[in-house]
């Protein structure tokens, strides 16, 4: 008898624990009330619920830019104070495969309400599973939203980034080089030579901070640098080279050859300690410390320079920075600017709360944090803030001059940079490939990638 009672107790304990787990797990899914508050007009036009009633409601956002994690958390706190809706920020990044992680979440039934997507191939993973947000007020306030021909406005833009050859204005001024004159490979080569001969006077370690390490920095070479082959100097809607690439991995030998010459120049004048086995941190820190005149990273390093590397940057005099095009040909006269990724709303999630949060993000209060603290370049025309980010002015200048190209590397075959081209850049940097070897290896590996 005693044994039976014990067994019954055990069984009920097990059942109770299961109930408890099930209860907490479903908490996110059942909450779906309309919860916009304050001046955030409910986009769907339904009645607005007071903040108190919405408390306990929560949404989860998967962010792909780990460098602005703290700023987004601050934003989430502000939003919770204002509306009572809890926003959980989960930041992935720094080489983490975000789409792979999201697929894992999907398999586990643990999808976030808002998550980041990097482009056409990412969006196609979630075909028909993302909310159309064309009815939202912010959608008419920007031209940088991700619009799918079938499913409408499914991506919320939050920043604009730029890829160009970043330079240290102070050092170029000391060397009496006018960045506006660096419009072709010959001019850039002459400038590199001049800087190289003055290294000791200028306190430089090397002329360029270019890192082609393949394990952790494949994205810098394989995506961002290669983006200049794809789009440099083209109109924003010109898709010549990306279309060629997506047609079985074809590359234009002539253009690639000129590009290879330019990469060779970077190899030659880069810091040898950084070139093959360096790290991202090292690259940015040395640029922020004024040890490189140029660095092959885009505008996002501004946030790192003013936060993590603030001390080094300050002791280097908080120098001004700018960008020149990767002018591997005289016709390449643009820097690349684009929304690097978009936030999509998962249609099985807490969509109403998610949409309300995004609408709030596009408005004055949130934009102030996003622009002034996170250093985002606002994609919204109504935004009146200018980022304190070192690169903000450079981007605005190039944009107002109309000398920008879009970037299309997001439409490349998935894994091209990580599994194929990143390694070829590394081999070229290490010297195991020469210029012609680089061109033919690039052609071969892209074809291999597209063949599978």
């Amino acid at each position: 008898m005693k044994k039976k009672v014990l067994a019954l107790l055990m069984a009920s304990l097990m059942a109770a624990s299961l109930t408890a787990c099930g209860g907490s797990a479903s908490g996110g899914g059942t909450a779906a009330s309309e919860d916009s508050a304050g001046d955030t007009a409910a986009a769907a036009g339904e009645e607005t619920a007071p903040a108190q009633e919405a408390s306990g409601d929560s949404i989860r956002l998967v962010n792909g830019k780990i460098e602005v994690d703290s700023q987004l958390k601050k934003l989430a706190e502000m939003y919770e104070q204002e509306t009572g809706v809890h926003v959980e920020i989960e930041s992935l990044g720094g080489g983490v495969d975000i789409q792979g992680t999201l697929k894992g979440y999907y398999q586990a039934g643990n999808m976030p309400d808002i998550f980041v997507n990097g482009g056409a191939s990412d969006f196609s993973n979630w075909e028909g599973m993302l909310e159309d947000m064309s009815g939202e007020a912010w959608a008419s306030d920007t031209d940088a939203a991700y619009v799918d021909p079938t499913y409408g406005t499914i991506g919320f833009p939050y920043t604009v980034e730029a890829v160009g050859l970043a330079y240290n204005k102070d050092i170029l001024a000391k060397a009496e080089i006018d960045p506006a004159t660096l419009t072709g490979p010959d001019e850039i080569k002459a400038a590199f030579e001049k800087l190289d001969s003055m290294k000791a006077d200028l306190g430089l370690d090397a002329v360029v901070g270019y890192c082609a390490e393949a394990t952790n920095l494949y994205w810098s070479t394989g995506n961002h640098l290669f983006a200049n082959y794809l789009d440099g100097g083209l109109d924003r809607d010109d898709t010549t080279y990306i279309d060629m690439l997506n047609d079985g991995g074809k590359l234009d030998t002539d253009r690639l050859g000129k590009f290879a010459d330019f990469v060779g120049l970077l190899n030659q004048y880069s810091d040898p300690a950084l070139l093959v086995s360096g790290t991202y941190d090292q690259q940015i820190l040395n640029f922020a410390s004024g040890k490189y005149a140029f660095v092959t990273q885009g505008s996002w390093i501004g946030a790192t320079m003013t936060n993590d590397d603030a001390d080094a940057y300050a002791s280097a005099g908080n120098f001004e920075v700018g960008m020149i095009p990767y002018a591997f040909d005289t016709s390449v006269d643009t820097i690349l600017t684009n929304s690097p990724s978009w936030w999509g709303v998962f249609s099985d999630g807490n969509t109403a709360a998610a949409k309300a949060f995004l609408q709030w993000c596009s408005e004055d209060e949130a934009q102030q944090v996003l622009v002034e603290e996170a250093g985002f370049i606002s994609p919204f025309t109504s935004c009146k803030y200018v980022a304190s980010d070192p690169f903000a002015q450079a981007i605005v200048d190039w944009q107002s001059a109309g000398k920008t190209s879009a970037w299309h590397w997001l439409s490349m075959r998935e894994g091209l940079a990580q599994n194929y081209t990143g390694q070829v850049f590394a081999d070229y940097a290490a010297g195991s490939l020469d210029r012609d070897g680089f061109v033919s290896a690039m052609q071969q590996v892209t074809q291999a990638c597209y063949a599978n």
Binding site: A11, G100, P272, A273, V276, Q418, N419, A448, N452
Partner: protein, 351 residues
């Protein structure tokens, strides 16, 4: 008797009803949280009902089944069902979220036509051979040292075993730092080499082997230590009286006496080297180039089979192709395991 019959029938019916209702609720997409407990209670009731069936003839088999059920259930849910699902996925164009078409065996033909995959397979075999020999040699040598009569032997045993307690990913990043930041500083000063040994395929492969041995030899050492300490003292004493020296004792007495341990360790290193993933991923993530293999320029010089599968599925977003490769991987490992069971069985008979 009839009372008991009614009880067992009632319990079985209640249990079945509970199971059915909870499963229907789950498959119809209900979010009701009672479905979990209902499923568990239904299962328990059904098992109790089964136990109460008034029969002498089948009682023993029913008890056997009830005791085996938890294991069989767990094995089915975590091994058999995923295996069958995986084989099914390998014949489709699954992208991790939805299946659009059934593509037959085209994933398998693509896989065998891809030089980079064949390279990964060959590299894995090479890695397995090197590791099987080196890990066992070093593990056995350490075991001999750690069974010697000297002070503080426990400290040495613990410190050789310690690397095995660190996870492979952490270990990989630690050694990546050592190779890329520390070793480069030294080589830059001494021989003027600014590139880390992880930057070229050949040296990176040896780096992975070294790290793997560092991680795994301590574990194998521990098994050899156990084997060596089970050798009866009287046998060793008798051989010493007969005039056997150290080397003779080692080859004529110790090694034959621990033959079964050697078999176990060989297969342990074999299977674990085949499944090598975490150190490979953290250390090089498969980078490294091969100038000409089967007429192509390869960019996955240090990518072993498990990592190749992972990268195919995750970073190249070809889940179905990755699944097809995983099926081949399963076949290879299953063959190794069957061989292992065969060999260890025949040894036991001999002894």
């Amino acid at each position: 008797m009839t009372e008991k019959k009614a009880l067992s029938a009632g319990l079985l019916a209640l249990g079945a009803a509970g199971l059915a209702v909870s499963l229907i609720m789950d498959f119809s997409g209900s979010e009701n949280t009672i479905r979990g407990p209902l499923l568990v209670i239904g299962a328990i009731l059904a098992l109790v009902g089964l136990y109460c069936i008034p029969t002498k003839k089948y009682h023993r088999s029913i008890i056997n089944f009830i005791f085996l059920f938890p294991l069989l259930f767990a094995f089915g849910v975590t091994v058999i069902i995923p295996l069958l699902l995986g084989i099914g996925y390998s014949f489709t164009d699954w992208n991790g979220v939805v299946i659009k078409n059934v593509v037959g065996i085209s994933n398998y033909t693509t896989m065998f036509r891809d030089p980079s995959f064949i390279w990964s397979v060959l590299l894995t075999f090479l890695f397995v051979i090197f590791n099987m020999i080196l890990v066992n040699l070093i593990g056995f040598a350490l075991a001999l040292l750690c069974t010697a009569q000297m002070r503080g032997i426990g400290f040495f045993r613990a410190s050789y075993f310690l690397p095995n307690l660190i996870g492979g990913i952490v270990l990989g990043y630690i050694w990546q730092f050592v190779f890329n930041n520390v070793l480069v500083q030294i080589t830059a000063k001494t021989i003027g080499l600014q590139n880390s040994i992880l930057a070229t395929t050949g040296t990176a492969f040896w780096a992975i082997i070294a790290v793997y041995i560092w991680q795994y030899a301590g574990y194998i050492m521990l098994i050899y230590v156990t084997g060596l300490t089970t050798i009866p003292g009287d046998v060793l004493e008798a051989s010493r009286i007969d005039g056997a020296k150290g080397i003779e004792t080692l080859f004529k007495i110790k090694i034959p006496m621990i033959a079964s341990t050697i078999t176990i360790c060989t297969f342990l290193t074999l299977t674990s080297a085949f499944k090598q993933f975490d150190v490979n991923m953290a250390l090089t993530n498969g980078t490294g180039s091969v100038a000409d293999f089967m007429g192509s320029y390869l960019t996955n010089g240090t990518q072993m089979l498990a990592l190749n599968i992972y990268n195919t599925a995750i970073s190249k977003n070809s889940y179905a192709l990755g699944q097809a490769k995983a099926v081949l991987f399963f076949v290879i490992l299953a063959c190794v395991s069957i061989l292992q069971v065969r060999i260890s069985n025949s040894r036991e008979v001999e002894m």
